[in-house]
């Protein structure tokens, strides 16, 4: 018994060192902007940079748009697959996994070929339509996470019986979706939403190739031109991501509504 516990603790210690040590080193390096003493000057510079504020705001708006579009796409899809087309489930699950397999750069090049300014749907022709294209790109990128989160949420409720009960009481599909289904998968959508937020905030390839002023390209720009500020930005990005994970945990622990 003692030996097996020692092994477990050893594995935890090695894992902790493996993950935490680089973070500590990054954090320590980010405090070294002022010679001879530790300071938060790098953080002050970064947080005071208008480009940081603009790019972070832009990515935040993109993240919110991605979450809304993603939820409106994924929830009805997962719902109808579960209710009406269970045989299509493996196919849909495969499709939602494709963004994990196909590199972002390949996806974006595909978009540029399909939606460039001389194509049948020139989404890259204007700034606004490029923003829209980026949102759709992010929806695709976040699809594996959003779909899985929503599918797990739907499994926790008796979708079929709730739908039949609502229909029996006179409800149409819109009422069923927005008054019964969405509220009952709210927690699952939030889990998917925070994951989506974390992904969008740090995404570089799509934003860069579509030439949009997102946070990812800003991170890369600072990293190529400054010394200490990139470390500060990395820590800020980690904090944002950890905050999202913390919120997932928090909402995931909300007293579950009974299945029945």
């Amino acid at each position: 018994m003692k030996q097996s516990r020692f092994g477990a603790w050893l594995a935890i210690a090695i894992g902790t060192v493996y993950f935490v040590l680089p973070l500590i080193a990054t954090f320590e390096f980010s405090l070294r902007l002022r010679r001879g003493e530790y300071s938060f000057d790098a953080y002050a510079i970064v947080l005071g940079d208008p480009r940081f504020q603009e790019s972070f705001l832009y990515s935040t708006i993109q993240a919110v748009a991605t979450i809304i579009v993603g939820a409106l796409l994924v929830v009805p899809t997962a719902y109808f697959i579960r209710l009406r087309l269970p045989r299509l489930r493996p196919i849909v699950e495969f499709i939602t996994l494709l963004p994990l397999v196909i590199p972002a750069i390949v996806i974006v090049f595909g978009y540029l070929r399909l939606y460039n300014s001389s194509s049948w749907l020139p989404l890259t022709a204007t700034t606004r339509t490029s923003d829209l294209l980026l949102t759709f790109s992010y929806v695709v990128l976040a699809l594996p996470y959003m779909y899985r989160a929503v599918d797990t949420g739907l499994r926790a409720i008796d979708v079929r019986t709730l739908t039949e009960a609502a229909e029996n009481l006179g409800a149409g599909w819109t009422t069923i979706m927005f008054k019964v289904i969405f509220p009952n998968v709210k927690v699952a959508i939030l889990s998917g939403a925070f994951l989506t937020f974390a992904i969008v905030i740090g995404e570089f390839t799509m934003a860069s190739l579509l030439d949009r002023p997102a946070f990812g390209p800003y991170l890369q720009l600072i990293g190529a031109n400054r010394a200490y500020e990139p470390s500060a930005l990395a820590i800020i990005a980690f904090i944002v991501t950890w905050a999202c994970m913390g919120l997932i945990n928090l909402f995931g622990r909300t007293p579950a509504m009974a299945k029945r």
Partner: protein, 358 residues
């Protein structure tokens, strides 16, 4: 004209008929149960009335209107599900009000109707609670109130008590029946529990393998089952196979002893093998006084003391029958192995239809 008419209903999945030749006319305010084992088609039939399954053939009419092809949200039938199906994100009040809000009723009408329904199910103080804060019995009562709030033409209940413990089931079925009677609403109740069906219904439809076996009042179903299936499914039954002695007088020989039914055995020739049935409560032990028309000599094989009832098993040669007798503190049950004579009336012997096998 009947209020609910189900005409020649059939439901097939591929080549498999799960419901066939289903014909039923239900009067306004009548309480009809569909009773049968799992897989007999009773829930499928109910779901066709609700609109959740599309019939392969046949029609369903409610108050003279053909609703066969209408969607569930167009039929104005209320349904109570086995799994309650309360909306977890809504309070009790919101659940009960749901159908009324969908119908865009005025706010004050919704409020008073909800209060009325909560009073009807005796949960007036539970309006602000969520379903997960209620017991199973309370949830089912809320489900009933929600189904009734919209003033449905027909109330459908799909094994609503099967998920509850025995004591709650008994009290809740009385409540359901009381509510149904007070509202006078036409009701279809699906159950596999014969006690529920017998105690609650005006009529029972006994189903087996997708077909109606018998339709009738509980008294008729229990005492005059038309098929072996009905006889064995509803209540406990002793089945005896014997040789016909005289079909015209209903005389049959079982294990070398002759007994008589009150009715003739139809289409029976002497020497043919036929099945007869006997309810345990119809059989008594002969105690020396003048006996009934039918008597059989055997020996006590087993005695089960069940409290108020004592169940005794008497063995003849190949056959054994069970009889139920009330517990009598001054007369303990006879011991195993004791020779006894059992007796029963000629009218108690049920002749099963030809073709029924043991």
């Amino acid at each position: 004209m009947a209020f609910l008419e189900i005409k020649n209903l059939r439901k097939a999945y591929g080549a498999n008929n799960v419901v066939e030749n289903f014909d039923l006319a239900v009067q306004q305010g009548e309480f009809v149960s569909f009773l049968g084992p799992s897989g007999c088609g009773k829930t499928t039939t109910l779901r066709m009335v609700a609109g959740f399954e599309t019939p392969t053939a046949g029609n369903i009419l409610i108050n003279g209107k053909d609703v066969t092809n209408l969607r569930p949200n167009q039929r104005n039938v209320g349904m109570v599900f086995q799994a309650y199906a309360l909306f977890p994100n809504m309070t009790v009040e919101e659940n009960v009000a749901f159908g009324l809000k969908v119908a865009k009723r005025p706010a004050d009408e919704i409020k008073s109707r909800v209060a009325e329904m909560l009073a009807l199910i005796k949960l007036p103080q539970m309006g602000a609670r969520y379903p997960y804060q209620l017991s199973g019995g309370q949830q089912q009562r809320v489900a009933l109130a929600r189904a009734l709030a919209i003033k449905p033409q027909v109330l459908l209940l799909d094994e609503p008590l099967s998920a509850l413990d025995a004591k709650i089931r008994v009290s809740l079925r009385e409540e359901i029946r009381h509510v149904q009677r007070s509202l006078g609403i036409t009701t279809i109740y699906v159950t596999h529990d014969q006690e529920e069906a017998l105690s609650m219904s005006d009529r029972i439809v006994v189903m087996s393998e997708g077909r109606m076996e018998q339709v009738g009042a509980p008294f008729e179903i229990y005492n005059y089952p038309r098929t072996r299936f009905v006889a064995s499914f509803v209540g406990t039954l002793n089945i005896l196979r014997g040789k016909v002695v005289d079909g015209a007088t209903g005389r049959i020989e079982i294990d070398g002893q002759q007994i008589s039914a009150a009715k003739a055995i139809p289409d029976a020739q002497p020497g043919q093998i036929r099945s007869v049935a006997l309810r345990p409560e119809a059989v008594t032990l002969r105690n020396g006084a003048a006996g009934s028309a039918n008597q059989m000599r055997g020996a006590i094989e087993e005695v089960h003391f069940l409290g108020a009832v004592v169940r005794i098993r008497v063995r003849f040669k190949e056959h054994a029958i069970s009889l139920d007798t009330f517990n009598n503190p001054s007369a303990p049950p006879p011991p195993r192995g004791e020779p006894v004579t059992v007796q029963f009336g000629r009218e108690d012997l049920l002749v099963l239809e030809a073709g029924e096998s043991a």
